[in-house]
Symmetry: C2
């Protein structure tokens, strides 16, 4: 799952240690200050100079990728565990809950799932791993008749965007408010609450374009 190791000589011991410190510092810095933390701040937290950081990660985005890759991994774990629950609706809701808990613990996460700006090769790979899991969570709940039939996997990002926004805005004031929001939304996602929707879901291409505003 991790990036292919090129057969170059391994890092020197101090470099290895610093690399770990940098990623860890970036994780906590992003978690507490959001994706806009300055590179200086991350380096300061890691106890290294900026040049050291830049030797390991040629650009700030690459560093962020490394952090967010782990976060996506956690989401994958949540999806896998959701599929182990017998009650598909419980699996569906537990998956969403786990993701939102992650959001609160790590403010930066929303920028993984949303802005795909920082979507490089490895992130794409993790996302590819996640996609079929999500599809399975959905069809399972639909075939058990609990999740509304017109809900699609392309609707999931929409839920992450919105719930993530609640979590992000309120995490310092009412860190669990997202549970209220999710409750309201889930009541609308149950099969027996369904009313025809006015608009179709995004297509995959549209989703790509939302995620990469820059891409031509």
């Amino acid at each position: 799952m991790r990036s292919a190791e090129t057969p170059t000589r391994p890092l020197r011991r101090d470099a290895e240690r610093n690399r770990d410190r940098i990623v860890e510092a970036a994780r906590t810095a992003i978690a507490s200050e959001g994706i806009d933390v300055s590179v200086e701040e991350i380096a300061r937290r890691a106890g290294v100079g900026v040049a050291t950081l830049y030797r390991r990660f040629p650009t700030k985005e690459e560093l962020i990728d490394a952090v967010l890759e782990d976060a996506l991994g956690e989401i994958c774990d949540a999806a896998e565990e959701a599929l182990e629950l017998e009650d598909a609706w419980a699996g569906f809701t537990s998956f969403l809950e786990r993701v939102f808990e992650l959001h609160v613990r790590n403010r930066g996460i929303k920028d993984v799932v949303t802005d795909d700006q920082h979507g490089h090769r490895r992130l794409d790979a993790a996302r590819a791993e996640l996609r079929p899991l999500i599809a399975e969570i959905i069809v399972r709940a639909q075939s058990q008749g609990t999740l509304r039939a017109d809900f699609t996997k392309e609707d999931v990002p929409m839920i992450f965007w919105t719930g993530g926004r609640v979590a992000e805005l309120t995490c310092s004031v009412a860190p669990e408010l997202w549970r209220r929001y999710l409750g309201l939304l889930l009541d609308g996602l149950r099969a027996d609450a369904a009313t025809p929707l006015a608009h179709p879901p995004l297509t995959n291409e549209q989703l790509e374009r939302v995620r990469r505003p820059g891409a031509r």
Copy 2:
């Protein structure tokens, strides 16, 4: 509703005209590029120098206030018209729809309703005007038995935050996708879909703190 006119001499004719141009340019600039447009860009669109802009608005935030005040006014209009509909549920939904339409037309709006960073005196006044209207929209729909009883006016910002995020992210790709999101959410807001919620709504103080992260 406008700010009190201090009894100073009125603006010279050219100054008055430029002021209008600046506000209008700021409106369209923010609508198309978001709240992060540079002051230079706004001045360029208005056909004036930056110094002219700064003479009229001592800070970028003051200028943004002037723009957003109008936007809030439009939201008030939407609320008033919603109250004229006989069917309270239709009023409730039409209010939300109008606000989201505004979001799409003017990307900047989300930053009024959300970040209260730019919340100065006049904005506060407009907000105070809006609050009772929203309360009335809600209790009316609840007393008609269509809106779930545990929904409160403090939940409305949450809807704006979330729907605004959908509108903002997808406005260039699927400008009406928010209708799908709103459909899902409304299905969860109907009284007969209601299931007990896991978390209470925000209190007013919490709402204030969400809006003014900076305020001590």
